[in-house]
C-alpha cells in the first residue's frame, strides 16, 4: 500500500507540473485560442490536415514570416507574386482558396501561431497526465476502503471492550458480594437494541435520502443514437472546434445540435472513415463509413451528384442532458461570459465515442462550481460596476488568489437559475 501511494504522489506531482507548464504557455496563447476558434478552426487544426494543412510549426515551413502574414491576409493576392511554396500549397489542396483575413494584425497572427504551437500533438500526447489522474482516483478509493476497514475494526474492538467491561463488572460484583443479576443476552439488551436502531435509522435515512435525491438524475446516461457519431473522432483526432458545430454555445441558452447542413459542410467531401478502428460500448466494431452513409440518407445526398439541401430531413438525436423545467441554464453565460471550457461540465468529450452524461447535473454540483469558480472580473467590462470589489482586490482586502467567485456576485442566489 505504501509503495502504491508513493507512486501516486509522484504521478500527481508530474500531473501538476505538466498542468503548470500548460498554463505558462496558455498565458500567451489565450487570445490566440479565441482568434483561432473564430477564424481558422473551420478549415484548420493544429496537428491534422482538414480542408487546409495542419498548422503546427507553420512558420518553419514558410520562407519568411512576412510572406506568411500576407498569405493569411490575402492568399489570392499573394499567389500572384509567384511564390513557389504558396503555389505548391494551393495546388496540393485542390486549388481551394483560403479565405482572406485583411483585418488580422501581426500580433494577432502571432497569438494564433503561439496557440497552435502550444497545443500538444495528440498522437504524441504525454501519457503521464492521464495516468496520474487515474492514480489520483485510485488513492481516493483506497482511502475510503481504509476508513471502512478501520471503522469496522474499531467497532469490533468497542464491542469486545464492552463485553470485557461487563464481564469485569460482574467479576467485581462477585468479589464484593453484590448479588449478581442474571446476565441479559445482548440481543435483549435495551442499550444494544437502541444503538442498533439508531444506527439503522441513520444509515437507512441517509441511503433513502440519497436515493430519493438521485431520482430524476441520470449521470452516465449514454443512450444509443440514430447515428454512431464519435466525438472522439471529430473533436479528438480531428480537433474540430466545439463551436464549429455547436454554434449556439456562445450566443444563447442552447448550445444547439448541428443541423444536417453543418454535417454536410465537411461530409460532402469526406465520405469514408479511414481512421483507427472504433468500438461501441458493447465492444463491437463500428463501421465509420456506414455511419457516414446513414448521414447521407438523412441529408438526401447521393454521392457524385450535387447536394440539394432541401431534401434533408432532421436527425432525431436522443437528448442526453435534461434539466428540469424549473431550471434556467444558459450556455452563453458560461461559455462566453464565464469562459468555462466545455469539458468542465461535459467531461473529456473529445475522448468519448458516443456521448454520455458526465456530470450528475444536480443542484449541489452547480452550486459547488459557482462557489469555487472565479468570474472574469478584470477582463469583462461588465464587472467594472463592482467598484468596491475592485478597490478591495487592489488593497488586498479580498484575497486575490481566491478572487471574485461567482458566489461573491450573487451566483448562488435562487433567482439566478430559478424563475
Amino acid at each position: 500500500m505504501i509503495l502504491s501511494r508513493s507512486i501516486a504522489k509522484a504521478s500527481i506531482a508530474a500531473f501538476l507540473f505538466s498542468v503548470s507548464i500548460c498554463f505558462s504557455v496558455a498565458a500567451n496563447a489565450q487570445d490566440g485560442k479565441a482568434l483561432f476558434s473564430a477564424n481558422c478552426a473551420s478549415c484548420h487544426a493544429p496537428h491534422k490536415k482538414l480542408t487546409g494543412p495542419a498548422l503546427a510549426g507553420v512558420e518553419a515551413r514558410w520562407s519568411s514570416k512576412e510572406n506568411l502574414y500576407s498569405w493569411i491576409r490575402n492568399s489570392a493576392a499573394f499567389l500572384k507574386t509567384g511564390d513557389a511554396y504558396a503555389n505548391n500549397l494551393f495546388n496540393e489542396y485542390n486549388k481551394v482558396a483560403m479565405n482572406a483575413f485583411p483585418t488580422l494584425k501581426d500580433a494577432e497572427i502571432d497569438a494564433i501561431l503561439a496557440y497552435v504551437n502550444s497545443v500538444p500533438d495528440p498522437s504524441k500526447a504525454p501519457v503521464g497526465a492521464g495516468e496520474g489522474a487515474a492514480a489520483a482516483a485510485n488513492v481516493e478509493a483506497d482511502n475510503s476502503l481504509l476508513f471502512g476497514i478501520l471503522t469496522l475494526i474499531l467497532a469490533v474492538v468497542a464491542l469486545i471492550m464492552l463485553q470485557v467491561n461487563s464481564n469485569l463488572k460482574k467479576l467485581a460484583d462477585d468479589k464484593t458480594g453484590q448479588p449478581a443479576l442474571e446476565p441479559i443476552p445482548f440481543w435483549r439488551n435495551k442499550a444494544y437494541i437502541a444503538m442498533v436502531t439508531v444506527v439503522l435509522f441513520v444509515v437507512g435515512g441517509y441511503l433513502t435520502t440519497k436515493g430519493a435525491m438521485a431520482y430524476g438524475r441520470s449521470q452516465d446516461y449514454q443512450p444509443e443514437q440514430p447515428i454512431y457519431y464519435s466525438h472522439a473522432v471529430h473533436a479528438g483526432t480531428n480537433q474540430i472546434n466545439c463551436q464549429y458545430c455547436h454554434t449556439g454555445a456562445a450566443q444563447g441558452k442552447q448550445a444547439t445540435i448541428p443541423s444536417v447542413n453543418v454535417c454536410m459542410n465537411c461530409h460532402q467531401a469526406i465520405n469514408e472513415y479511414k481512421g483507427e478502428k472504433m468500438y461501441n460500448e458493447a465492444g463491437e466494431e463500428v463501421d465509420g463509413t456506414a455511419e457516414i452513409k446513414k448521414l447521407y440518407k438523412y441529408a438526401g445526398f447521393e454521392e457524385g451528384k450535387p447536394w440539394d439541401p432541401s431534401k434533408a430531413k432532421p436527425i432525431e438525436w436522443v437528448r442526453i442532458h435534461n434539466l428540469p423545467d424549473h431550471v434556467y441554464f444558459n450556455h452563453a453565460q458560461h461559455v462566453k461570459a464565464g469562459q468555462v471550457a466545455c469539458q468542465t461540465c461535459h467531461g473529456e468529450i473529445q475522448k468519448m465515442g458516443e456521448v454520455k452524461q458526465f456530470s450528475d447535473l444536480s443542484m449541489g454540483w452547480c452550486v459547488n462550481c459557482h462557489r469555487e469558480t472565479k468570474v472574469q472580473f478584470k477582463d469583462n467590462g461588465f464587472y467594472s460596476i463592482y467598484e468596491k470589489y475592485h478597490a478591495d482586490l487592489k488593497s488586498g482586502k479580498i484575497d486575490s488568489t481566491k478572487g471574485i467567485t461567482v458566489e461573491k456576485i450573487g451566483g448562488t442566489e435562487c433567482q439566478k437559475c430559478h424563475y
Binding site: A212, Y215, G216, S218, Y221, P223, T247, G248, A250, Q251, G252, K253, Q254, T256, I257, P258, S259, V260, N261, V262, Y298, P309, S310, A312, K313, P314, I315, E316, W317, V318, R319, N322, P324, D325, H326, Y328, N330, A332, Q333, K336, A337, D379, N380, G381, F382, Y383, S384, I385, Y386, E387, K388, Y389, I409, G410, E413, C414, Q415, K416, H418, Y419
Partner: protein, 1036 residues
C-alpha cells in the same frame, strides 16, 4: 379643509365593520382549515387518521411515480438551419397591430418560431413605443382555439380551390364589399381593382362604434370628410365633452403619450396642462381629469353651445345647474387663457355637437397648433348612413353579392335583425372572418383571413405615416389573406405579397427601400406641413339652432360606452382582456349597469353612506339585477355603484353578449347592449334620453377585484397609501410631502437615517446592481396595458370568473383605484401596485423553507420549486401582492383530474396545446399550491446582464426593460440599476425629490419601488397646518 382622504371602497369610506375585518385578513375567504370547530377533530371531514392514511399513500405513490423509468426525450435540430435563427434566442420583427382601423406599430417577439409577446415600436412617430391592453393581448388571439381552421361552404370544410370555384360561379348582381375601417393603401388599391373589374359594385365601410358625426361635421365645416390629427402635447388647456381619448376614443395610444407629455411635472419649473372633463358616466379619461363635471347626456349639445358662447365672451346661457355652469365658465376661461394651445374634443356622435366643437376649436386657435388638418387620422372612416342604406338595399333585394371583412353588423348594428333579414336576401354571402362570428355564421362562404401576425400588409394610420405588417409565423391553419382572394377574383395573376412588394418598391426606391421599411416597421413619406384648415362657419348657426329643438331627456338617461379591454366586442374572446379589471369599475368578466350612489339609494335601496348597507353591497358578489327598457327593447343587468356618474344617468358597456362560437371566454359573458342604440340622422346614437329602470328580485354575481387586496394603514401615523396634491398647493409648498415623510420618520432617525436606525437588522451592502423602479402617478392613466403585458411576459394564469369571485385572481400587477372628495363626483387616482421588492421584506423571514429570500441585486426572489404553500408570506405582505395557486390553473399537475370541476372551461382552454404556444419559455409555469408574485421580470434582467457581459461592457438602461415599463404608453414606469449614476431610475429619483414617496414607508420594509405623487392641476389649497395641528392634538 381637512387633509385629503383617499378611499378605495365604500367600506373604507365608512370605516365599516366588514372593511375593518377584511384589512386584517390576507385572504378574502375563510381558510379551509377546520370546517366546524364545535365538532371534534375525528368527526371533521379530514380527521387525523385519514390525514395519515393519505400521507402514507401519497408518499408511496410519489416514490412509485418517481422510480419509473425516465422518458426518452428527443433533440431534433433543423435540417438546414437558417443563418439568423438561434434556438433559444428571441428575434424581434417589426409589424403592425391592425384591428378594425386601430393601428399600432409594434415589435413581435418571436421565440423559436412562435410570436409570444408584443412590444411597442420605438421608431413609430405616432405611438413612440406605446401599446394598449388590447395590443398586448392580441398575441393570444393568434393561438385562439376557436379560430376557423379551414374555409367552409355552409359550414362544411372545403379547399380554397373549391371555394374559389363555387364563389366564381355564384358571384354576381350588385356586389358590395363591406369592411370595417381600412387604412391600408395597398388593400384600398386591391379593392379598387376589384371594383373596377365588376362595375356597379361598391365598398361600404362600417364601424361598430362609428365617428360618423365627426366625419360629417368636419365635411360641413372644413370640407374634409376625415378626422384631423390631434396634438394633446401642444395643449395647455384640454376640454373634453365625453371623449374618452385615453381609453377608447380614436387613437388612445397616441393620445395617451401626448397627454402624458403635458402632465409630466418638472419639479423645478412646475407647470402642467389643464384638463377639464364633462361626462355622464365615469370613464378612464374622466378619472384622469383635473376637473370633472357631470351632466345628462341630453345636455351635451347645450353644453357645447354654452361653451362656444362663453369662449366668445357672451356668457353661459341655457345651463341651469350651477356646478355645470361654473364648469363651463372655468373651461372657457382656461381655453381663452391658452389660445393657440387649447383643444376641445367631444365623444358625441351628434353632428351638431361636433360642428359646435369645431367652432370652439376655431375660436381658440386650435387649428395648426393642437389640431393639424394637414395630416388626417385614418383610424375611423365609417359613416352610419352608408351602412343603413346598404341594409335597406339588402332588404330591397338589390344586393347580389356581399363580401364582408372585419365588420360584424349581425352583432353590433343596433337593428341587427334588419341586417340579418337583409343578409338572407343576398344570394352570395362571403365572410373573411377568422372566427365564426355572428355575421360569418349567417354567410354561405367563410374564407378565414390570417391573423395579423401571420399576414403581409401595410397601414396608414395618419396621412404620410406608413407602417408595415410582416408575418412572424407561417399560418397555423388553412387560412388565406383576404386580399389574395380579392386579387384572385379580380383576375390578377400575382398574389398579394408580390402586389404589396411591387406597390412599395415603386414608392420606396426599389427592393432595398422596401426591406428597410419592413425592418423598421414604419416609414414617413411626403409629410405635409401643419395646417390650420379653412373653417367654414356656415353650419354653426344651424347647429346652435338645434339646441332649442333638442329633445329633453326623460327621468333617466342611458350611455353606452366601450371598455378599454373589450372595445366594441373584439376583446371579448380574449381571456386576458376579460380578466383585466376594468380601470374604472374594477370588474372582470361581465358588463353591468353603472349607477351613481344617489341612484343606488333610490333605485336599489342601497345607501352606501351607511356602513352596514355598503358592506352588504360590497362584501357579497351578487348584485341586484335591474331591467333596463328602451322603447321595445330591454335587457337585465346587475347594477354596480360607481361614483363619478351623473345621478340621472346609467351606463352600459357594449362588446358583451357575444356568440359562444367566437371563444370560450366570450360564451355567456354579459349582455349585448348594442340593441339599445338608435339611428338618429346619419349616425348611430350611443346615448338615449329616455330609459326606464325596474329593480327585479334577482341577483347576479359580478367579479369585482377592488376589495380583494385591501391593506391597512393603521400601523403608522400616515393615513394615505397614495399621495395627491394640487398644483397650486405644490407650487405654494413644494417640499410638503418630503417634510411630511421626514416628520413621520422622525422617531427612527428621519428621512436620512431611517434605513439604519429604524431596524434591528444590519444594513446590507449592495455592490454592483440594485434594481429599482419608479412609478409616476401623474402620468399613469390606469389604462391596464401593463397588466396584460405582465400576463403575457410572465405566464400569469387566467383563473376564470368563479375564481375571481373568490378573490383568487393571479395578476402580479394590479392597478388600485382611489377616490377622494365628493362621493358623487370624486377625484380618482390610479396606483399600479406590484411586488415592492422590499429590502427588509416581511415575507422573507416568515417562510419556513426559505422559498422567498433576497438577492444581492435587491430582488425579492420567489422560488416556486421550493415553496410548500404555507402562504405565511402572503399573510405577512403589507401590500397584498402575493398570489397563491389555489387550483391547478396551468394543467401542470401529473394528475389531469385535479382540474375537473375545479376550474372552468376558459382555464382549460388556456391549457390547450395551441394556446400554450403563447407561454414564455423562460418563465416557469407554476403548479398548484405555490405562491407567485412580480419578479421584476427577472428573466429580462438576466438576459440584459448577459447581453452586456457578452459585449464586455457595463449594463445600460436599454439592456433591461421590464414588461410593464415597455408596454406603458405614457412612460410612467422607470426601471433600472439604482446604483448606477447615469441610469434613468437614479436620474428620476434625483430630479423628483419632492414628489417621491414609498408606499407604507413607516413599516421600514424598505421598498424598491418609489412613487411620484399625483399632482392635479387645480387651485385647491388645503390648509394643512391646521389639519396637522388637529391630528397632533388628538394624538397628544
Amino acid at each position: 379643509m381637512e387633509q385629503k382622504k383617499h378611499w378605495q371602497s365604500f367600506g373604507e369610506l365608512n370605516q365599516s365593520a366588514a372593511f375593518n375585518k377584511d384589512v386584517k385578513d390576507e385572504f378574502n375567504e375563510e381558510l379551509p382549515m377546520v370546517e366546524d370547530e364545535s365538532k371534534s377533530f375525528l368527526e371533521a371531514k379530514a380527521p387525523r387518521r385519514d390525514f395519515l392514511k393519505y400521507l402514507g399513500f401519497s408518499t408511496a405513490a410519489a416514490a412509485a411515480a418517481a422510480s419509473c423509468e425516465m422518458p426518452v426525450k428527443k433533440a431534433i435540430p433543423f435540417a438546414n438551419k437558417p443563418e439568423d435563427v438561434v434556438p433559444g434566442i428571441s428575434k424581434y420583427y417589426a409589424t403592425t397591430y391592425v384591428q378594425d382601423g386601430d393601428t399600432v406599430s409594434i415589435l413581435a417577439k418571436v421565440r423559436d418560431g412562435r410570436p409570444i409577446k408584443i412590444e411597442g415600436n420605438d421608431l413609430c412617430p405616432i405611438t413612440k413605443g406605446g401599446t394598449s391592453a388590447r395590443v398586448q393581448a392580441s398575441v393570444l388571439d393568434l393561438y385562439d382555439t376557436s379560430r376557423l381552421r379551414f374555409p367552409t361552404i355552409d359550414g362544411k370544410e372545403v379547399t380554397f380551390e373549391a371555394a374559389d370555384k363555387a364563389i366564381a360561379a355564384q358571384m354576381g348582381g350588385n356586389m358590395v364589399i363591406l369592411t370595417s375601417t381600412i387604412n391600408s393603401p395597398s388593400t384600398k388599391a386591391v379593392i379598387a381593382q376589384f371594383l373596377a373589374k365588376y362595375p356597379g359594385s361598391k365598398h361600404v365601410t362600417y364601424d361598430a362604434v362609428s365617428y360618423s358625426a365627426m366625419l360629417l361635421a368636419n365635411e360641413a365645416t372644413y370640407g374634409v370628410r376625415g378626422i384631423p390629427s390631434y396634438h394633446f402635447e401642444n395643449a395647455k388647456a384640454i376640454v373634453s365633452l365625453g371623449a374618452d381619448f385615453l381609453g377608447t376614443w380614436l387613437n388612445p395610444v397616441e393620445f395617451s403619450k401626448q397627454y402624458a407629455t403635458g402632465k409630466k411635472l418638472d419639479e423645478k419649473n412646475p407647470s402642467m396642462s389643464k384638463h377639464i372633463h364633462f361626462e355622464s358616466v365615469a370613464s378612464l379619461t374622466g378619472s384622469n381629469a383635473d376637473e370633472k363635471y357631470l351632466h345628462r347626456p341630453s345636455e351635451t349639445l347645450a353644453i357645447a353651445a354654452a361653451l362656444l358662447s362663453a369662449v366668445n365672451g357672451t356668457g353661459v346661457a341655457g345651463i341651469t345647474d350651477a356646478k355645470l355652469k361654473a364648469g363651463i365658465e372655468a373651461a372657457a376661461k382656461a381655453l381663452n387663457a391658452h389660445k393657440g394651445a387649447a383643444l376641445v374634443v367631444a365623444g358625441s356622435n351628434d353632428v351638431n355637437v361636433q360642428i359646435i366643437v369645431n367652432a370652439i376649436n376655431n375660436a381658440v386657435g386650435a387649428g395648426g397648433n393642437t389640431i393639424n388638418w394637414g395630416v388626417l387620422l385614418n383610424t375611423r372612416a365609417g359613416v352610419d348612413a352608408d351602412f343603413a342604406q346598404l341594409v335597406a338595399d339588402m332588404n330591397a333585394g338589390s344586393v347580389g353579392t356581399l363580401l364582408i371583412h372585419g365588420a360584424n353588423p349581425a352583432y353590433s348594428w343596433f337593428a341587427a335583425d334588419q341586417f340579418k333579414a337583409g343578409l338572407a336576401k343576398v344570394k352570395t354571402t362571403v365572410s373573411f372572418a377568422g372566427k365564426v362570428d355572428e355575421t360569418a355564421e349567417l354567410c354561405k362562404f367563410v374564407l378565414p383571413d390570417n391573423h395579423f401576425l401571420e399576414s403581409w400588409g401595410d397601414a396608414e394610420a395618419k396621412t404620410g405615416h406608413f407602417s408595415f405588417i410582416q408575418p412572424t409565423i407561417y399560418p397555423l391553419f388553412k387560412t388565406r389573406q383576404w386580399q389574395d382572394s380579392l386579387l384572385k377574383w379580380s383576375g390578377a395573376t400575382e398574389d398579394y405579397l408580390a402586389y404589396l412588394k411591387n406597390f412599395w418598391s415603386a414608392k420606396l426606391g426599389g427592393v432595398n427601400g422596401w426591406d428597410k421599411a419592413l425592418q423598421d416597421g414604419v416609414v414617413a413619406l411626403g409629410e405635409s406641413a401643419k395646417s390650420a384648415g379653412s373653417f367654414n362657419g356656415a353650419a354653426v348657426a344651424g347647429a346652435l339652432a338645434a339646441v332649442s329643438s333638442a329633445k329633453k331627456g326623460g327621468k333617466v338617461e342611458l350611455v353606452l360606452y366601450e371598455k378599454v379591454g373589450i372595445g366594441a366586442g373584439q376583446g371579448a374572446s380574449n381571456p386576458w382582456l376579460q380578466e383585466l379589471p376594468d380601470p374604472v369599475t374594477r370588474a372582470t368578466w361581465d358588463n353591468y349597469l353603472i349607477v351613481s350612489p344617489a341612484m343606488a339609494k333610490s333605485l336599489l335601496n342601497i345607501d352606501i353612506s351607511n356602513g352596514g348597507q355598503a358592506d352588504a353591497y360590497e362584501v357579497n358578489p351578487p348584485k341586484k339585477v335591474v331591467k333596463v327598457t328602451v322603447g321595445q327593447k330591454s335587457i337585465e343587468l346587475p347594477a354596480l355603484i360607481i361614483p363619478g356618474t351623473h345621478p340621472e344617468t346609467v351606463g352600459i358597456a357594449v362588446g358583451y353578449g357575444r356568440s359562444e362560437k367566437v371563444g370560450k371566454s366570450a360564451a355567456g359573458v354579459g349582455k349585448n347592449a348594442f340593441a339599445l342604440a338608435s339611428l338618429s340622422g346619419a349616425s348611430v346614437q350611443f346615448v338615449n334620453g329616455e330609459v326606464s329602470l325596474t329593480l327585479t328580485e334577482e341577483t347576479y354575481p359580478v367579479a369585482l377585484t377592488q376589495t380583494h387586496s385591501r391593506y391597512d394603514t393603521e400601523q403608522g401615523n400616515r393615513t394615505e397609501v397614495v399621495k395627491e396634491l394640487s398644483l397650486a398647493a405644490y407650487k405654494h409648498h413644494p417640499t410638503e410631502i418630503r417634510e411630511e415623510r421626514d416628520k413621520e420618520l422622525k422617531p427612527w432617525g428621519g428621512l436620512e437615517k431611517f434605513e439604519s436606525q429604524g431596524t434591528l437588522y444590519p444594513v446590507f451592502e449592495r455592490p454592483g446592481i440594485k434594481w429599482g423602479m419608479s412609478v409616476d402617478l401623474n402620468t399613469c392613466t390606469g389604462c391596464g396595458a401593463c397588466v396584460v403585458a405582465c400576463n403575457a411576459e410572465n405566464n400569469v394564469s387566467v383563473v376564470g370568473k368563479p375564481e375571481v369571485l373568490r378573490g383568487h385572481e393571479m395578476h402580479w400587477l394590479r392597478i388600485d383605484r382611489y377616490y377622494s372628495g365628493d362621493l358623487e363626483n370624486p377625484n380618482v387616482v390610479f396606483q399600479p401596485l406590484m411586488c415592492q421588492h422590499c429590502d427588509n421584506a416581511p415575507c422573507e423571514n416568515v417562510c419556513p423553507v426559505a422559498a422567498t429570500n433576497h438577492s444581492s441585486e435587491g430582488l425579492n426572489q420567489m422560488t416556486y420549486n421550493r415553496c410548500i404553500g404555507t402562504r405565511y408570506c402572503a399573510n405577512n405582505c403589507p401590500y397584498k401582492v402575493r398570489r397563491f395557486n389555489w387550483a391547478d390553473y396551468t394543467g401542470s399537475d401529473s394528475f389531469g383530474d385535479n382540474q375537473k370541476g375545479v376550474v372552468n372551461d376558459v382555464v382549460l382552454d388556456m391549457n390547450d396545446d395551441l394556446t400554450r404556444m403563447v407561454l414564455n419559455p423562460d418563465v416557469t409555469v407554476r403548479a398548484r399550491g405555490v405562491i407567485e408574485k412580480c419578479s421584476f421580470c427577472v428573466q429580462r434582467l438576466q438576459e440584459g446582464k448577459l447581453k452586456a457581459k457578452k459585449d464586455s461592457r457595463p449594463l445600460s438602461d436599454s439592456d433591461v426593460k421590464v414588461a410593464c415599463q415597455q408596454a406603458c404608453p405614457t412612460n410612467a414606469i422607470t426601471f433600472g440599476n439604482a446604483n448606477s449614476k447615469e441610469s434613468a431610475i437614479t436620474i428620476a429619483r434625483q430630479e423628483n425629490p419632492n414628489r417621491q414617496f414609498y408606499v407604507l414607508e413607516q413599516l421600514h420594509v424598505l421598498p424598491g419601488v418609489t412613487y411620484l405623487a399625483k399632482v392635479r392641476n387645480t387651485d385647491d389649497m388645503p390648509h394643512h397646518e391646521g389639519a396637522e395641528a388637529k391630528t397632533e392634538k388628538a394624538h397628544g
